[in-house]
């Protein structure tokens, strides 16, 4: 399949950046507003799924295949579990939020801080999970779409 009509492709081209920005916003502000890594990741992945629908799975598979996505997902997962392991090393317990209270990165705490430099490792974990969810959900959709594509002549 070579994708859908030109109208759909054009609209996708226009709306995808918006979806992407919105998803990244949800990920980045996960510790302040409703949302987080999973939700934002799902938003971005749905944008990618829109591209998949508009351009067809064969075209998308040529641009990025599931091996790349799988590696990306591994990186996200490694980032997440790595942050947890760093808690073991720096904070003496697995999953310790060791960045809370420091002065360099995301360390601010307390009532009414309400800015993005709060919550310790939570924003970092949000990013890791966001990356993982984007890659993971898109990989699932892409692989399933590619496997069930209509072959030439059918």
């Amino acid at each position: 399949m070579s994708g859908m009509s030109r109208i759909v492709k054009t609209v996708t081209n226009i709306t995808f950046p918006l979806v992407l920005i919105y998803g990244l916003y949800v990920i980045a502000h996960g510790h302040l507003t409703p949302g987080g890594g999973f939700q934002g990741g799902a938003v971005v992945a749905s944008g990618l799924a829109m591209i998949l629908v508009a351009y067809g799975s064969v075209w998308t598979m040529k641009k990025i295949n599931e091996k790349h996505l799988s590696a990306l997902e591994s990186l996200g997962a490694l980032g997440f579990i790595g942050l947890a392991f760093l808690g073991l090393i720096f904070g003496t317990w697995f999953f310790n939020n060791y960045l809370v209270g420091n002065e360099i990165l995301f360390g601010e705490i307390g009532r009414g801080a309400a800015n993005i430099y709060t919550a310790g490792v939570i924003p970092l974990m949000n990013f890791a999970v966001g990356l993982k969810v984007i890659a993971g959900l898109f990989a699932i959709v892409l692989v399933m779409a590619y496997a069930t594509r209509l072959k030439e002549g059918k």
């Binding site: 999973f38 999953f95 939020n97 801080a113 974990m125």
Partner: protein
């Protein structure tokens, strides 16, 4: 009706009775009293800003208080991706 079907009907009715009963005796929607006061959740609501710095109580639960669940959850997604890819792999080398 075959044996298989009647077993299925009995199983379904049994489970249905359990669920319907549980619906009628769960505490009323949105009402808490001394017996089931949400102490654990109140603790999280009170301390999320001071302990974790996150304004979003849900995120503080997801990534801090119950972070290990989230690791499991991320792992489930990872598992599903690995499973889907392995099932659609090429069979010949």
């Amino acid at each position: 009706m075959s044996l298989r079907n009647s077993v299925a009907v009995i199983f379904f009715l049994l489970i249905a009775i359990f669920f319907v009963f549980s619906a009628f005796i769960t505490h009323p929607f949105g009402e808490f009293n001394n017996e089931n006061s949400p102490e654990m959740d109140q603790y999280i609501i009170d301390n999320t800003q001071n302990e974790t710095g996150a304004d979003n109580g849900v995120t503080s639960v997801v990534f801090d208080y119950r972070g290990f669940d989230t690791l499991g959850e991320a792992t489930v997604l990872f598992t599903a991706v690995a499973g889907v890819i392995i099932l659609f792999r090429r069979l010949k080398k």
